[in-house]
């Protein structure tokens, strides 16, 4: 037992290499965690970060390996990132349009779109995007000019993600858009009577959230794997929900939250390698962390009411 825990620790924070592995796992969790936090703030239950991430990775791969193969890095890297964001926004936006015009629950549509996205990836890498050699179901490797600049094995996407966290914190809490988003998230009917369209907010929130998740997908292919294959994301978009909830949907708090889950992911791999403990155990740990977070947030919710001046009664 202690051996396993030791492996978990040393594999996540025990050495420089371990830290690198942790940070590499953190990057996609951070960006998708932000995507989920933003959506949940707006009262939109985007369960589709996984699919949006894959859609982003797919679009990024199209740009990197088919459309702009010869372009210089200065053009190609932004183009790849933009393609990823657009792909994710398309998937998120589709759920948003369904919600705004047809009243389709985004919980259902985003979950279903996850399957669509993973099937589209499979279709692409068995077909038009498959490597020239046609040996394996994977894309051509990205040209070097399409790869994100990296420091050792930590790519620049992590830096962008950090900037995004600060940017989103400002967007949510300082801008009129964030103000409307929070109002709709807290009380959609009240917001409607105040002249804010919950449908429009839901649509833009889903598109924006999808764009972030798509960006995470682009970072994965252009920063880590260098190619698209099935199983690119092993549930990153789902873990992102836990990341966002643990951060209490505060963009800045998503940073430490993603770091924790990133360390768990990296440590789990090491644990499996060195102590022979199945990685499933980390999922147990992650589950425990989520339960703890939920428990804490309930305590927090009751706190102010009990400590406040007086309970609003008779109301």
């Amino acid at each position: 037992m202690s051996e396993a825990l030791l492996a978990l620790l040393s594999g996540s924070v025990g050495s420089l290499a371990a830290w690198t592995a942790t940070l590499r796992e953190t990057a996609p969790l951070l960006v998708t965690g932000l995507a989920v936090a933003l959506a949940f703030r707006g009262g939109v239950w985007n369960i589709g970060a996984e699919g949006q991430l894959l859609a982003g990775a797919l679009c990024a791969t199209v740009v990197a390996t088919r459309l702009c193969v010869g372009a210089p890095a200065l053009v190609l890297v932004p183009a790849v990132a933009l393609a990823g964001a657009l792909g994710g926004a398309l998937f998120g936006g589709l759920a948003g349009v369904l919600r705004a015009t047809r009243g389709v629950s985004e919980v259902i549509s985003t979950i279903l779109l996850n399957f669509v996205a993973s099937c589209l990836v499979a279709l692409a890498i068995h077909g038009p995007l498959q490597e020239v050699a046609r040996a394996y179901p994977k894309s051509d490797p990205f040209p070097a000019a399409a790869m994100l600049p990296a420091f050792g094995r930590v790519h620049a996407g992590l830096l962008v993600a950090l900037v995004l966290a600060f940017g989103l914190q400002g967007l949510v809490f300082r801008t009129p858009f964030g103000f409307r988003l929070r109002a709709v998230g807290l009380a959609p009917t009240a917001a409607r009577f105040a002249g804010i369209s919950p449908e429009r907010i839901a649509l833009s929130t889903l598109a924006l959230s999808g764009a972030l998740a798509g960006l995470a997908g682009a970072f994965e292919v252009a920063g880590v794997t260098g190619q698209l294959y099935e199983g690119l994301s092993a549930g990153t978009g789902y873990t992102a929900i836990a990341v966002a909830l643990l951060a209490r949907l505060q963009p800045l708090w998503v940073i430490p939250s993603a770091l924790l889950f990133g360390a768990l992911e990296a440590g789990a791999a090491a644990m499996q390698r060195e102590a022979g403990v199945p990685a499933v155990v980390t999922q147990v740990v992650q589950g425990a962390v989520i339960l703890l977070a939920v428990g804490l947030s309930i305590g927090k919710r009751r706190g102010p009411r009990l400590l406040g001046r007086a309970l609003p009664e008779d109301a």
Binding site: P176, F179, A183, A190, A191, F193, A194, G195, L306, A315
Partner: protein, 508 residues
Amino acid sequence: MPRVLRARLQGISKAFVPGVPVLDGVSLDVAEGEVLALLGENGAGKSTLMNVLSGLVKPDAGVLELAGEPVDLAHWGPRAAQGHGVGMVHQQSALVPALTVAENLRFGDPAAGLWFRPRAERRVAAALSRRFELEVPVDRRVEELSPGQRQRAEILRALGRGARLLILDEPTAVLTPNEATALFGAVRRLRGAGCAVIFISHKLGEVEAVADRVTILRRGRVVASVAARELDAHELGRLMLGRDLPPLARRAAAPRVATPQPALAIRGLSTAGASEASRLRGLDLEVFGAEIVGLVGIDGNGQRELEEVLAGVRRPSAGEVVVAGRRVALHPRALRRAGLAHLSGDRESAGLVRGMTLAQNFILKGSWDDRRFFRHGRIDHAAAWRATRAAALRFGIVPPDPERDISSLSGGNAQKLAVARELDGDPLVLVAVNPTRGLDVGSARFVHEQLLARRAAGGAVLLISTELDEVIALADRLVALVRGELRATPPGADRAAIGAILLGGGGA
């Protein structure tokens, strides 16, 4: 079945926060065959006291006697209260909408067996309904019932669990005047059947109609406990508020300015509706400046639809809304910009967001045309703070703290913020919909005074309310909304005459 001979609470104290007592040595008693009205403003401690009696709240100190014997407060809880024959009907319905009345009566009943026997349940429910003369269709699903029927079903459920001391928490808040009258009859019958009833209210008229005795709470203390017929409404109001409530100075308003055009004109307005009866059918209505037009009606006759159109959240199928001679796009912000403000007694319709601060709520509505708070894509928090603070002080919001979450305020104070926001910038037209719903006497008075002040300042007020007394007291002109159509009411019509029109019996 245990029989409550008498419930006696003595020296009950409770403080949720140390040093801030919600109940401070409250004593109260009620006997079988008696209706006790418990009065008090919001926050006086009425609900907490009743939660103590029904086992939901443990008091810090005090003695509770039921049927002459002190109960063990250490083991006092909802189950124990139920076992002692105490039943409470809360403001929020606790029935399962998708189940029938009979199923609801059985649902969660600890005495019921493991098996569900539809025919037997129905028989028991029907027998109970007959015995207490509370007419409820026991086979219908609760979601199909009217609020009045739903409430009778709740009372039946409490009775079915053996309750002989019934606590009704503001039972008339959701009822129409006719349903309220029916409820009073039911309460009298329960009294006749030997039940004790505690009737929580903050409406004086109801107390006179139904209670034998009145206990008045103010700030967690009993200020008076007397026979109902010994008090008049004025005295009750004084005791509740702790100060005199002068009569409304309505007729002291400014004389009507001869305005060439109505401030608000509604022309040929038709909408789809939640039900056939609530569909608006070609509504025409004009409201002039310095005038309060009262629109009365029973819930579900189109008030909600009209409110939604005037608030800009429902698109009519035909017709137009004209403010000061100009046709207005039916969107919340466009209406506000044109000078039409909307005030509602319902938190959500009022556009108040729980979880946001006073200042954020203050700037929420009409904020985009309001350059004061939104500039260059940023929120001017300082300006919002100042404006909210000024409004809070002017309208006596307690506490006047713009940073405080609105959900920590009492209903009256939250409503004051809505009033402050809607009156900000002196709107030409104020549409007030059940503006005092759920408010205590003092807060309701405040809202009434603001409506009259608006009228005195030359504003047009359309008061849509199910509170007949409120409309009669305030309005210069009365119209009735019956099945989506307007009916004129003769000038000086009394409650009974208007009631007949509302039921579709008389009127033009």
